[in-house]
């Protein structure tokens, strides 16, 4: 058991050391952590066998909520901005969820896509309210009343993101193992039996849906704050597809996989263009093809398999079977 815990702990330590060991990676890793949290939201839905093509909607709602709040309340505190943004994402998760949870499979995906594209169109076209295609600036919030310089602020954001990654990752893993998490996951295998246990599948899916919306919201607001600008592109359908892409690349259904996938994605996206011209999309596309066809359990699946072969224990897939 220690090996299984040692490696993740080592990785977390390495990531925590980045701002000092390799400051040029700090921004990239911070974006990867934010995107990872959002991808955990998508992973939650994958556990119920559902794929949303529009979860960038909540990613963008949180980012824009933070931007509007900071614009209307200059010098708003970081904690307030985060809370309001994530609350915005969660509430919209409930509102959209009430419609969407009645549907499954392709219909669930398409309806989510419709909602996100409507929000994208509003952001893109209603220039005087939403800043249009250029988006809105998200000025640096104050931290406990102190207006910080860029350097210290980004350090705080980095470690805050890391803390959120650990906290939310742990919570999601524990929730998966909890009764309501297990009930949520039965939607994937047998909704009929779920009905015959006296549970409404819609309400079960809604709990998971709101959690996934909130997680995407956390990712969105961190991304918005770290970048200092929020654009309609946050809600574009390709970003929703990207999140599903990363979830499966990392390991469909695995929380750790979401972060691993996000890190790989950001690294390839940033450094591929430096070395190999502008073909980062092709590299990632090719990488995903290999994963989907030869290792459908994703990078985490490969990691688990090799670990199991090394330590001789039976490979289980991800954290649920603690």
């Amino acid at each position: 058991m220690t090996v299984r815990l040692a490696i993740p702990a080592l990785i977390l330590l390495a990531v925590a050391a980045i701002p000092f060991a390799a400051p040029s990676l700090q921004l990239l890793m911070n974006l990867a952590l934010a995107k990872g949290i959002a991808v955990v939201g998508v992973t939650v839905l994958l556990r119920a066998g559902q794929v949303s093509f529009g979860h960038a909607l909540f990613f963008a709602i949180a980012a824009y909520a933070a931007a509007f709040l900071s614009a209307s309340m200059p010098g708003a505190d970081l904690v307030l901005v985060l809370v309001v943004a994530v609350a915005g994402a969660a509430i919209s998760g409930v509102l959209v969820g009430l419609f969407v949870v009645r549907y499954r499979g392709i219909f669930f995906g398409m309806l989510n896509l419709a909602f996100s594209m409507i929000f994208w169109s509003i952001l893109e076209k209603f220039y005087h309210y939403t800043g249009g295609a250029d988006g809105i600036r998200l000025p640096r919030p104050t931290v406990f009343g102190m207006a910080l310089e860029r350097g210290p602020f980004e350090l705080i954001m980095f470690y805050l993101s890391l803390a959120l990654v650990i906290l939310l990752g742990w919570f999601t893993v524990r929730w998966f193992a909890s009764p309501s998490g297990q009930l949520f996951q039965t939607i994937k295998t047998n909704e009929t039996r779920l009905q015959y246990l006296g549970v409404s599948p819609q309400r079960a899916l809604l709990t998971g849906y709101v959690l996934s919306a909130a997680l995407c919201g956390v990712g969105g607001v961190i991304m918005g704050i770290v970048q200092g600008v929020v654009t309609p592109e946050f809600a574009w359908w390709i970003r929703s597809g990207e999140m599903v892409f990363i979830a499966v690349l990392g390991g469909a259904g695995s929380v750790a996989g979401a972060f691993v996938g996000a890190a790989i994605y950001e690294i390839v996206r940033t450094y591929a263009s430096a070395f190999a011209g502008d073909i980062w999309q092709m590299l990632l596309g090719g990488f995903l093809l290999v994963i989907v066809i030869f290792a459908p359990k994703g990078v985490i699946g490969i990691y688990d398999a090799t670990l199991a072969r090394l330590t001789g224990t039976r490979a289980n897939d991800g954290e649920t079977r603690k």
Binding site: F171, A177, S178, P179, G181, K188, T189, L197, G198, V199
Partner: protein, 249 residues
């Protein structure tokens, strides 16, 4: 004291040209295990679907403990104390046998704590005992997909029993199982039902099982209840022998 648990009154439903329920009326009394027999396509499963709210009848009402449940969704009827086992076991295919039961009891107890591990809930012992009652204690940690058809049938019934229902509706509990195992399963089943003090209704084709385990028998034909009575009366009745048993032999 025999008291009416479930009552169906002139249920009517048709699928296209086929009349699946033609003015069906039937009462189920507490403590009396009812067997439903009849040729395939007679409307037996349809009857169970209507009683559990899966299908809405065109006409007629369903009462459970005197309360009209015709228009309720299955989950609402289940909450009142009705549970169901299916002809094809409806199990959570990515979970183990024990987990299927733990999920069922979690639903029953409405456990909402987001961080408590399901394997550590208080009712775990009760579920292990239930597994033992249905004779599947040895496969508790095996994924259900790896179990035999018979075991899966029993787990399906155990999942229903985990809800501590008042009434258990079973659709051909021993079908798809080798005839040698049929009696073993029924033995386990009746013992479990007796211990859980649950009234059961089960659709069955094997007359041997019907005669040994049913307190009452209802004969279905062409979407309606032809006859009803004790196993002895029904099984000797010429029409039954010709229409039902003739087929079965």
């Amino acid at each position: 004291m025999s008291e009416i648990l479930l009552e169906a009154r002139n249920l009517q439903i048709r699928f296209g040209g086929v009349i699946a329920a033609d003015n069906v009326s039937l009462t189920i009394e507490r403590g009396k295990n009812m067997a439903i027999i009849g040729p395939n396509g007679a409307g037996k499963t349809t009857f169970l679907n209507i009683c559990t709210g899966w299908l809405k009848p065109a006409k007629g009402t369903v009462l459970f403990e005197g309360r009209d449940v015709t228009s309720l969704a299955p989950r609402r009827i289940v909450r009142l104390g009705v549970a169901r086992a299916f002809q094809i076991p409806q199990l959570f295919t990515e979970h183990t046998a024990l987990e299927n039961l733990l999920i069922s009891v979690s639903a029953r107890e409405r456990l909402r704590h987001p961080l408590q591990d399901m394997h550590t809930i208080r009712q775990r012992g009760e579920m292990l005992h239930l597994l033992d009652m249905v004779g599947c204690a040895d496969v508790a940690d095996r994924p259900v997909v790896e179990l035999s058809e018979g075991q899966r049938k029993l787990i399906d019934i155990a999942v229903a029993l985990a809800l501590k229902p008042k009434l258990l509706l079973m659709d051909e509990p021993t079908s798809g199982v080798a005839s040698s195992e049929k009696f073993k399963i029924m033995e386990i089943l009746v013992k479990a039902l007796a211990e859980a003090k649950v009234t059961s209704v089960f659709v069955e084709h094997d007359m041997g099982i019907v005669s040994r385990y049913a307190d009452e028998v209802a004969v279905w034909a062409a979407g309606n209840v032809q006859m009803r009575g004790s196993p002895e009366e029904i099984l000797q009745h010429p029409d039954v022998i010709r229409d039902v048993i003739g087929e079965a032999v």
